[in-house]
């Protein structure tokens, strides 16, 4: 297995996806952190990358020429998303409903429709000081559909995964290799010597930070992952939303395991459920004020607390085992 896509998702928001994704990206050699939570990306607050490129992403919207349009209503009829409204004296477009499918343009008998680009957001790319490749998407304010931007962000991975030129030029990759070599030194200085994650299994690991929930944007973010980590917390809300997220992953057939963050041993229902459903419990992070304090200052808790860092190294080992099992099946 050369390249691995590891996604971090959760049904409930605020369980610690970003902290876990950023921590994993920090300890996994040759990793990239991809923030797909485009509505409110916050991975940059923890990883503090130096952004060096920004690329605008647009969607296509129909533009109706009022001189050519006969208000026949064909476009309204074929629009699957109710984005076009027939006012009788003209056809009007409700921008935010439009998915840019192009059906109206295709079917317009009078060729009155052309497609224009409308910016929906930006993809930012950079490197952290430890040489982690950083990519995130930032959706424009007022834009409702996140999935097209997430798709665009993920295309940056797909391009390189299929061995095409993709997003990263050769120069960029070699540049990154250099940086990660320097990074190895800084990482290994804190790593325990018997750590098996030093045996490089993957050439590259893409850690995807998914948006919360179980809607289109989450599905878009986690699809094509080799493995998904579901983050939850020891509360009834955490459990309820975990069940929903598990259902999604089972449906789209992505192997997954669970991390319980803000772990509270007195909430036994969570582990009972995981046992009943034979779900892998990958890690428990105790509910500790000091982790929250670090986070609130924009510092990854693993940087300050080596015991937590060891837990994450263990988590990565577990995931590697799971992935090898998947590969051998």
């Amino acid at each position: 297995m050369k390249e691995v896509i590891l996604s971090i998702a959760s049904g409930k928001g605020g369980t610690g996806k970003t902290t876990i994704a950023a921590s994993l990206a920090s300890i996994i050699p040759n990793s990239a952190y991809i923030d797909c939570d485009v509505e409110e990306p916050n991975g940059h607050l923890l990883l503090k990358p130096k952004i060096n490129t920004e690329e605008f992403v647009s969607k296509l919207l129909p533009k109706i020429d009022p001189y050519k349009c006969t208000v026949c209503g064909k476009c309204v009829e074929v629009c699957e998303f109710n984005a076009l409204i027939n006012l009788k004296f003209e056809i009007t477009l409700i921008d935010e409903m439009c998915h840019g499918c192009g059906a109206c343009t295709y079917f317009c008998p009078g060729k009155a429709i052309t497609e224009i680009e409308k910016p929906i957001g930006v993809i930012r790319k950079g490197l952290t000081e430890h040489g982690i490749l950083f990519i995130d998407g930032l959706l424009n304010i007022g834009e409702v559909a996140a999935a097209p931007l997430i798709k665009a962000v993920k295309r940056k991975i797909a391009g390189s995964k299929n061995g095409q030129a993709g997003y990263f030029s050769k120069g960029e990759i070699s540049n990154r290799d250099k940086t990660s070599k320097q990074n190895e030194i800084s990482i290994s200085s804190i790593k325990s010597t018997d750590d098996i994650s030093q045996q490089y299994l993957f050439e590259k690991t893409y850690v995807i930070d998914s948006p919360p929930g179980t809607s289109c944007s989450m599905v878009e973010a986690v699809s094509d992952s080799d493995y998904c980590i579901l983050v939850t917390e020891s509360t009834p809300f955490g459990l309820n939303d975990l069940k929903l997220a598990m259902e999604v992953l089972k449906t789209i057939d992505i192997p997954f395991g669970v991390v319980i963050n803000k772990y509270d041993a007195s909430y036994i229902e969570m582990e009972k459920y995981l046992e009943e459903t034979k779900t892998d419990l990958l890690m428990k992070i105790p509910f500790d004020r000091k982790y929250a304090v670090a986070y609130s200052k924009g510092i990854l808790p693993i940087v300050l607390y080596p015991e937590l860092k060891n837990e994450f190294l263990g988590l990565f080992d577990t995931i590697k085992e799971k992935l090898m099992m998947v590969e051998n099946v």
């Binding site: 309204v76 998303f81 109710n82 984005a83 409204i85 027939n86 006012l87 009788k88 009007t92 409700i94 935010e96 409903m97």
Partner: protein, 116 residues
């Protein structure tokens, strides 16, 4: 249903309704109401149109506005109208009378509206 409402000069009032008659309860939802009852207050005749918006995944509001516009309404009496629907209603000069509660019958809502 009873009469075709063709004279566009007169005021025609659309009510969001849970059923197809004047006895039905008013619906507080605009885009996702089950029926629109369009009344000509001068003749007292009305027309019931079933609203497909109930099953629509998204965009029910603007579509409902389109529907009552095509049926000649120029006022809508309902509980609440969303932003996108309001935009369309304004474009086609349909007056919005909102804030009506769903616990009254359409005929009572008509009396209430006309008394204002």
């Amino acid at each position: 249903m009873i009469a075709e409402l063709k004279n566009t000069n007169k005021e025609k009032i659309a009510f969001t309704s849970t059923g197809g008659s004047m006895e039905s309860l008013l619906s507080e939802q605009f885009g996702r109401c089950q029926y629109f009852i369009i009344v000509d207050p001068e003749t007292g005749k009305f027309e019931a149109i079933s609203n497909l918006g109930e099953q629509m995944q998204s965009g029910a509001g603007p579509k409902a506005a389109e529907l009552i516009h095509h049926h000649g309404a120029n006022v809508v009496v309902t509980g609440h109208v969303g932003d996108k629907a309001e935009e369309v209603l304004k474009r086609v000069n349909i007056k919005i009378a909102s804030g009506y509660k769903g616990n009254i019958k359409v005929k009572d809502a008509l009396t209430e509206y006309l008394s204002k």
